[in-house]
């Protein structure tokens, strides 16, 4: 039965026509299929190298729901292991971060060095001496790890698509941000964790391509003078491969209040526009800093004149997502500038942010509604047809060097791309 159900849902899932069944955000069968395909095969963003600066530093996170430890071993190599003691399956490392040369299981004391080797087994002699080849045992390593310009990525697939192919033309846009940091990228103020009662795909739409919600969900930001009016200079950019960008070129946030202390940050950005447009093309001037983006499947950033934030939408159930978010600063900036960036970002984003608290209200009520509607075996098709067939080559709008397709601010072009890519995973094409 469940398989027929999935087939029926996938039949009504036609993202290229702008048709996305509501069940995609509610049903457990779809959710489990996503974990087994999207989160198993795709490359996933894990964190920033700066989070594990020194040998022994580690943090824990998940790939889909799979718990992993990300650590820098004593030889300075970044390694990713399942957070799993091979003896009896205990969650080896329960803290979110720390520094340790060894991981010791609290159950029977099996101990691993941070390069994954099993180095201690209580009563090895005489109990295991002929029954356990300790040299060949160790933590289960995640098969593919990629370090890219200060970021850490991994894939649970044995043979994932090459990382560059996975990023596709999104690489160009990520490079603009990562190159700007010139190796000085720092996560500042910690990673906040927030359990959202919503399917993981819904919140990321705001970053991947839904500029259309801002004038309504965030109308209060204009009323209280936090922002000028929402301009129509916003564009939706689809670089391919399921990624997405909301391009908010320049002006919008410049009118914002409380910005004096942000001058050193803004100066850095202005300088970067010059060097990056020389390196990558004139288009950089027309879209810098370019606003929200999402890297397929679940890594989002928001890049503005005031701050750079990131979000990872970790799936925790069909209608449950653990947001892990934080703020990126230039590590060589004065402490006071870093704090001002942090406070400005948190004024808007995060659980108490005046923008994201309203998003969270919307998200929670979509789920509440959705669960009830699906109980009636009703599966309406949601409407992703905005600007269908109206997008053009990005270069025509943004200028020389830009890649991908681009639509007006109301366009769903990148969301159709996201769901088309998702469908490929769900149907086994990817």
């Amino acid at each position: 039965m469940p398989n027929n159900k999935i087939e029926d849902i996938l039949k009504s899932f036609n993202p290229e026509k702008g048709e996305v069944p509501f069940s995609l955000f509610i049903d457990n069968e779809i959710y489990e299929l996503e974990l087994a395909t999207v989160f198993k095969k795709s490359w996933l963003f894990l964190g920033f190298e700066n989070m594990i600066k020194y040998p022994g530093d580690y943090f824990t996170t998940t790939m889909g729901e799979v718990p992993v430890i990300v650590t820098r071993d004593q030889n300075n190599q970044v390694r990713v292991f399942l957070n799993f003691c091979i003896h009896k399956g205990m969650k080896l490392c329960r803290a979110t971060q720390g520094n340790s040369q060894f991981f010791r299981c609290p159950y029977h004391g099996w101990t691993y060095s941070n390069d994954g080797k099993l180095v201690g087994v209580p009563y090895y002699e005489p109990a295991y001496v002929n029954n356990l080849d300790i040299e060949k045992q160790g933590l289960i390593a995640v098969p593919n790890v990629k370090l890219y310009k200060g970021t850490i990525w991994a894939s649970l697939a044995e043979k994932p698509k090459p990382f560059d192919d996975f990023l596709g033309d999104m690489k160009l846009y990520l490079d603009l941000i990562f190159d700007m940091f010139e190796g000085n990228m720092e996560v500042y103020g910690g990673i906040h964790r927030w359990l959202l009662p919503v399917n993981w795909k819904i919140p990321l739409e705001n970053f991947a391509g839904d500029a259309y919600h801002a004038p309504f969900t965030h109308a209060s930001a204009v009323s209280i003078g936090l922002r000028g009016a929402y301009g129509n200079n916003v564009r939706i950019l689809y670089p391919g491969e399921g990624h997405g960008i909301v391009s908010v070129p320049g002006g919008l946030a410049r009118k914002a209040v409380d910005i004096d202390a942000l001058t050193p940050f803004r100066d850095r950005l202005s300088k970067a526009v010059e060097t990056l447009s020389q390196k990558y093309g004139e288009f950089v001037k027309n879209m810098f800093p370019f606003g929200p983006l999402n890297v397929f499947p679940n890594f989002s950033m928001h890049f503005t004149w005031n701050y750079i934030i990131f979000r990872v939408w970790h799936p925790r159930g069909p209608t449950l997502t653990e947001l892990q978010g934080g703020i990126l600063v230039f590590s060589d900036m004065p402490e006071e500038t870093k704090r001002q960036i942090l406070r400005r970002a948190l004024h808007e984003f995060g659980p108490a942010g005046v923008l994201e608290q309203d998003d969270a209200e919307v998200w929670s009520k979509i789920s509440e509604n959705g669960v009830s509607i699906r109980k009636g075996s009703i599966d309406p098709k949601l409407i992703y047809t905005r600007g269908l067939g109206m997008d053009v080559e990005a270069e025509k709008v943004l200028g020389k060097g830009a890649k991908g397709r681009i639509g007006e601010y109301y366009s769903d072009v990148s969301l159709r791309g996201f769901y088309s890519t998702l469908k490929k995973y769900l149907t086994g094409e990817e």
Binding site: L195, Q357, D358, A360, W363
Partner: protein, 164 residues
């Protein structure tokens, strides 16, 4: 440091009154209890190995008076969806201790249990520790600094659209 019974009762009354104003949604009156240099921070606690330095705090809000005013003004717009329709809240303030008093400035610790109803079946209760700086002025007391530590490493409430 010595604090008289009367002073303790006055501080306690101040905290109760302030909580009541928030529960009754008299936000502008509540604003009048803040000093001009008011600072307000909210933290989560990270889940990390024990150290002598105490819990590792994760900042989720860092506001000054101006930002706080914007936050309050927002609640009077037609678009503060997170609190419209309005939440029903009930704040319990307890374990109030005056930790120190220097001149007219009191450092006060308290616990906050805050229940919120948003018209659905999700149970939302915030449990938080607070460190306040309360200043005695001519017309009574004012709040000049508040650090709130929500005792959760993963925030389980849908958002923090309330003042804690």
């Amino acid at each position: 440091m010595s604090v008289s019974y009367d002073e303790y009762m006055e501080i306690l009354s101040f905290l109760y009154k302030e909580a009541m104003l928030l529960d009754d949604k008299k936000y502008k009156e509540w604003l009048s209890l803040l000093t001009e240099d008011f600072e307000y921070k909210i933290f989560l606690v990270d889940f990390v190995p024990y150290t002598n330095e105490g819990p590792k705090l994760i900042t989720i809000l860092d506001e000054d008076r101006k930002a706080m005013e914007r936050r309050i003004n927002r609640l009077y717009t037609e678009y503060a969806w997170a609190e419209d329709p309005q939440s029903h809240t009930l704040r319990v303030i307890s374990n109030v201790m005056i930790e120190s008093k220097v001149d007219n400035v009191y450092n006060v610790r308290s616990y906050l249990v805050l229940h919120r109803d948003r018209g659905d079946l999700k149970d939302e209760v915030f449990y938080a520790k607070r460190n306040d700086k309360i200043v005695k002025v001519n017309e009574g007391y004012k709040l000049s600094k508040r650090d709130v530590i929500i005792m959760e490493s993963i925030l389980r409430e849908r958002n923090v659209s309330l003042i804690l």
